[in-house]
């Protein structure tokens, strides 16, 4: 229960207008809208923030981070190139990424049983299989619930180009859902008061709306109605925050722009770095189009063009600013793709959940390290399988969130941050 809701009507309204006029409100109510539970975190955790880059559609492990150069029939026309880390090869369309692999920990032994997009994406984001009766919180929502916000003035969980369904608060409620950004270059849209509306008028609008909402909420006790009421408070706080500039890519210099490149995903990565710099706990950036059933090699080349420079820039930039040590950068996807190449689909590859690859970098994980192995064709995991839940438990462990703590849903069922998954301790330096 937030304190301000207990205040009388006059104080409530005064609070809103105060918050609207200055950012004093933030200091008066530092924990508003967030529940920081730092006492229960594991000590010694290195990561403060997570940048979660999701390759939607199922990134081909064979053509990116688990190439099999000796197997021509598996690789088709694609070749592998060496990287800055001994022992790690990458696909030929990732030349810039190859240069930063000495910072990256490659998990080649990811394995899952979910071979359809929706189910695969869901389990990667929540650690649980999809059920008709309950919606599970996403990783970012768990991070918010368990670790809270770092900066109380701006959203702690932001998604860029991602689907709202997969970045929701689940049974934790809307308060824990990501603030969605549709276009990184535009930042957080509409976060400034319209030019022709002065502060007085703006405050009065809010006060009037607040009265109406209060009345509606008294009539209908409903969680979503309440969520909107609270979001107005949050929005006002955000609008007055100094840190709103975190969302503004225009403040980036020419050099940074050159480093990241002009693509949509590149803008997303650049924005993610700014957000983390300003104390956002969890940022997801999505890059779609990896569902390469048809013309795999043409499509993979196109996706890598989007990914390569942006990812390499992100790692380089974080490192240069001294942020990589406490930022965990994850590259995840819902599954890999088949070693078989389908000639009838113009050399396509189908879904392949039994073996795929994800990446970790920074945030206390080993650098230039390869974990697990697939067989000669990349079809099965040969060594050290990592289930989706283990992978997610590892991400959470990096943030200091214990994997074995049970949290109860409103219906009284116990859930854990990564279901039964356990962190892979060998991945940590």
């Amino acid at each position: 229960m937030n304190d301000h809701l207990k205040l009388d009507e006059f104080s409530r309204r005064r609070f809103i207008s105060t918050a609207a006029r200055t950012c004093l409100g933030v200091h008066l109510f530092p924990l508003l809208g967030s529940s920081v539970a730092s006492g229960s975190l594991i000590s010694g955790a290195k990561a403060k923030s997570v940048i979660y880059l999701f390759m939607a559609g199922g990134m081909s492990h064979l053509d990116t981070f688990d190439p099999k150069p000796k197997k021509k029939d598996v690789m088709g026309p694609l070749e592998a190139i060496p990287s800055k880390a001994d022992d790690i090869l990458v696909g030929q369309h990732l030349p810039k990424t190859a240069e930063v692999m000495n910072h990256v920990c490659v998990v080649n032994s990811m394995t899952s049983k979910q071979g359809a997009h929706e189910q695969g994406t869901y389990i990667m984001h929540t650690s649980y299989a999809m059920r008709g009766t309950i919606t599970h919180p996403s990783l970012g929502a768990w991070a918010m619930k368990m670790a809270g916000r770092i900066n109380p003035e701006i959203p702690g969980y932001v998604s860029i180009d991602a689907s709202p369904e997969m970045t929701g608060g689940g049974f934790f409620g809307a308060k824990y859902a990501a603030a969605p950004i549709g276009s990184a270059s535009e930042g957080l849209k509409d976060s400034r008061r319209p030019d022709h509306v002065d502060k007085e008028a703006f405050d009065r609008r809010l006060a009037l709306a607040d009265r109406l909402n209060q009345q509606f909420h008294d009539r209908y006790k409903n969680a979503d109605v309440k969520a909107y009421e609270e979001l107005y408070q949050e929005a006002v706080r955000l609008m007055n925050s100094e840190d709103l500039k975190a969302f503004n890519l225009n403040e980036e210099g020419e050099q940074a722009r050159k480093l990241y490149g002009n693509g949509r995903f590149a803008q997303g990565c650049m924005l993610a770095r700014r957000l983390v710099e300003h104390g956002v706990r969890f940022v997801e950036v999505q890059l779609g189009g990896w569902d390469t059933h048809y013309d795999n090699f043409g499509a993979v080349e196109g996706r890598c063009r989007e990914f390569d420079q942006a990812y390499a820039a992100l790692i380089t930039d974080l490192e240069k600013r001294g942020l990589l040590k406490d930022t965990l950068v994850v590259v995840a996807t819902e599954f890999g793709r088949t070693p078989e190449i389908k000639a009838e689909h113009n050399n396509g590859r189908d879904h392949h959940p039994s073996a795929f690859t994800c990446l970790l970098a920074g945030g206390g994980v080993k650098a230039g390290y390869r974990y697990g192995e697939t067989d000669a064709t990349g079809s099965r995991v040969k060594d050290a399988p990592v289930e989706v839940q283990d992978f997610n438990a590892t991400i959470m462990h990096a943030l200091g969130i214990p994997h074995d703590k049970e949290i109860y849903s409103p219906s009284g069922r116990p859930f854990r941050v990564a279901d039964q998954g356990k962190p892979i301790m060998d991945l940590f330096a």
């Binding site: 359809a116 709202p164 969605p180 809010l206 109605v225 909107y228």
Partner: protein, 632 residues
């Protein structure tokens, strides 16, 4: 004709009721059918010893009926008319009016687009899915019966540019992934989840992988038309140094927009088990025959390839799965009208006898069949029930697996309902604008060409009739010549064609969500409020987030509505006698109800304080209110 209907029809230009005659055209039939449903619900209350909820007031009914049927709030004129007329039959008449208005098919199209994952294009695809989108849109407009629509999609073949065959987009949408397409078919039309069985047996006794492949055999062999006559020409123009030439662009029209948008192969009825097949009942690579997993069995031969597997599948889905096919669609319609399925989730079929109110579900299945899958007629019956008119219920359903029949649950409007309502306030009735059409002209470098009236339909027919390379070469050269001529100003007259094309709208146009790009661009209000990306079935979200609130406070709402003196909303204030009357009109326009005495006082205070600046403030506050955002 009843008085209010006459009035409404007089006020707004209506399309005639499309489609064949239905028993639901007879008011007596509707009354009885609705009563029957209410009697089952009443029995539920008796059984549970609960009080029957009250019937809601006119204002709540009005807004609810508009949002549920036409997906937007009423205009101020519509609201005033309904609230002021004193006629005991006015609710029934309002439903007739709404179901006959073009807004009905617009709102249904959003639903169908989410369900069928209808997008305008897809990454890596050089063609367009707009003809398919248009097919679905037309199907909603003509109220195509659900079984016909299902058959039309599953058995579709031919080329996308022919409006009668544009349903082939159902397969083109999932090019290269026929198995996922089949999983979605099972889920959409039969409420069967088979996606897991694509890779492994269901450990809980559900579908087995073998059964999945047996079903997939019906659709096996779906492909594009053979590109053989064009292959060599394509290879030649695709050489690096020719990629920027006009030759390449013209070849692309044939390669991507004719061949790439065609669907052949009616379903062989046979399929090979996959290389990683892991169970004892079959060998990897073994050829197996089509066989249906439940319902009345349909099977095909494993000896020879047939060409009618998809027709057989469509026939089985629509007529041989017992109550399953009608139940799933009946339940979806219940969900649309009442806010929650009799059983939930709506994409997981439950036999009527296993639901918590078997008699009702049985009846709904029968009704769907009796009405020949006429979705408008079916919804008409539901809309006329008392059950639909109960006061809103703010609490989640007490029945975890479905509707507790305790009044429509309070829920936030869908993203499309919010958008369509906002543009109604900004520009008045949005259905007066023509709906989106398909541009069938040949496009070269993003520019449409006239080509003497030769459009994509004509070119597709001609190209697909060619079966030799030499003939294709002649055709290609001639087309290239024609394109060159028109581009150098010879063939001209593109303007005349342009005028005849139905409109296409961009993200900034203030038209119905159903006419905007699908999905809307990521910086659009529709995205912020959770429109489905239409990559997976029914992926829309109603989760609140801070960006939505920012949009309402500072964004589109402020620019296009609150601070736009030309907004329709402000026009409705003209001629108002005093401040009180203005406040009343603003309330009716935005919340579809007059203000309470207390609210009058609040707003009059604001007028006294701010003078003329009060109006944008009041409008802004009302649109920011939860009452505006929620369907009661």
């Amino acid at each position: 004709m009843k008085p209010i209907a006459t009035l409404l029809i007089g006020l707004f230009c209506l399309l005639p009721w499309a489609g064949a005659a239905s028993p639901a055209d007879d008011p007596e039939y509707v009354r009885k059918a609705a009563l029957k449903i209410d009697s089952y619900v009443a029995a539920w209350y008796r059984q549970k010893k609960m009080a029957v909820p009250e019937v809601t007031n006119d204002a709540t009914f009005l807004r609810r009926a508009f949002l549920v049927t036409v997906g937007r709030i009423p205009t101020a004129e519509e609201a005033r008319l309904f609230l002021e007329i004193d006629d005991p039959a006015k609710r029934t008449q309002l439903i007739d009016y709404l179901l006959a208005s073009p807004g009905y098919s617009s709102h249904m199209s959003n639903w169908a687009f989410d369900l069928l994952r209808v997008t305008d294009g897809k990454s890596g695809f050089g063609g367009t899915l707009e003809p398919y989108r248009d097919w679905v849109r037309r199907a909603m407009e003509s109220n195509m019966p659900w079984d016909d629509l299902t058959r039309g999609l599953l058995a579709a073949r031919g080329n996308s540019w022919d409006p009668d065959h544009a349903a082939v987009g159902y397969y083109i949408r999932d090019r290269g992934m026929p198995l996922d397409n089949l999983s979605n078919t099972a889920r959409i039309f039969l409420g069967s989840h088979m996606e897991c069985a694509q890779c492994h047996d269901d450990p809980f006794g559900g579908p087995e992988r073998f059964e999945f492949y047996q079903l997939a055999a019906f659709t096996n062999g779906v492909r594009e038309a053979s590109r053989r006559p064009m292959q060599k020409i394509w290879d030649e123009v695709s050489e690096d140094d020719r990629r920027r030439t006009l030759d390449y662009s013209v070849a692309q029209v044939i390669w991507d927009r004719v061949y790439g948008m065609s669907v052949q192969g009616g379903g062989t009825g046979r399929i090979e088990l996959p290389q990683d097949y892991q169970y004892r009942d079959g060998e990897p690579g073994e050829m197996i025959a089509a066989r249906t997993p439940f319902g009345k069995t349909v099977r095909m031969s494993d000896k020879d390839n047939a060409d009618d597997g998809r027709e057989k599948l469509a026939e089985w889905v629509t007529t041989r799965t017992g109550e399953q096919f009608p139940s799933v669609i009946a339940n979806r319609m219940w969900d649309r009208v009442m806010g929650r399925g009799v059983y939930e989730p709506v994409d997981e079929f439950v036999e009527a006898k296993e639901t918590h109110l078997p008699a009702l579900m049985n009846h709904l299945v029968q009704l769907m069949v009796e009405l020949d899958y006429d979705l408008r007629a079916f919804q008409k019956i539901l809309l006329n029930t008392k059950t639909f008119q109960f006061v809103p219920n703010p609490e989640p359903s007490k029945v975890a697996t479905g509707d507790d029949f305790h009044g429509r649950q309070l829920e936030r409007m869908s993203s499309e309902q919010i958008w369509d309502s906002l543009i109604t306030l900004a520009g008045g009735d949005p259905d007066k604008k023509p709906r989106r059409g398909v541009d069938t002209r040949v496009q070269i470098g993003g520019k449409p060409l006239n080509l003497g009236g030769k459009d994509m339909k004509k070119i597709s027919e001609e190209v697909l009739a060619i079966d030799s390379e030499s003939e294709m070469r002649t055709y290609f050269e001639a087309l290239l010549e024609q394109v060159k001529k028109e581009r150098s100003g010879g063939g001209g007259g593109g303007d005349g064609m342009m005028a005849r094309q139905a409109p296409r709208y961009g993200g900034n146009d203030q038209v119905r969500a159903s006419e905007l790009p699908s999905p809307a661009p990521r910086d659009h209000l529709l995205y912020v409020f959770g429109q489905s990306d239409r990559e997976v079935v029914e992926a829309a979200s109603r989760e609140p987030n801070v960006s939505q609130v920012l949009t309402l406070m500072n964004g589109f709402v402020q620019k296009q509505l609150v601070n736009n003196p030309g907004a329709h909303l402000y026009k409705s204030l003209e001629g108002a006698s005093d401040a009180k009357e203005k406040i009343r009109r603003i309330y009716i326009a935005i919340l579809s109800r007059p203000p309470s005495e207390e609210e009058f006082r609040w707003m009059l205070d604001e007028v006294n304080l701010s003078g003329d600046d009060a109006w944008p403030n009041i409008v802004s506050a009302l649109v920011m209110s939860s009452e505006f955002l929620f369907v009661q």
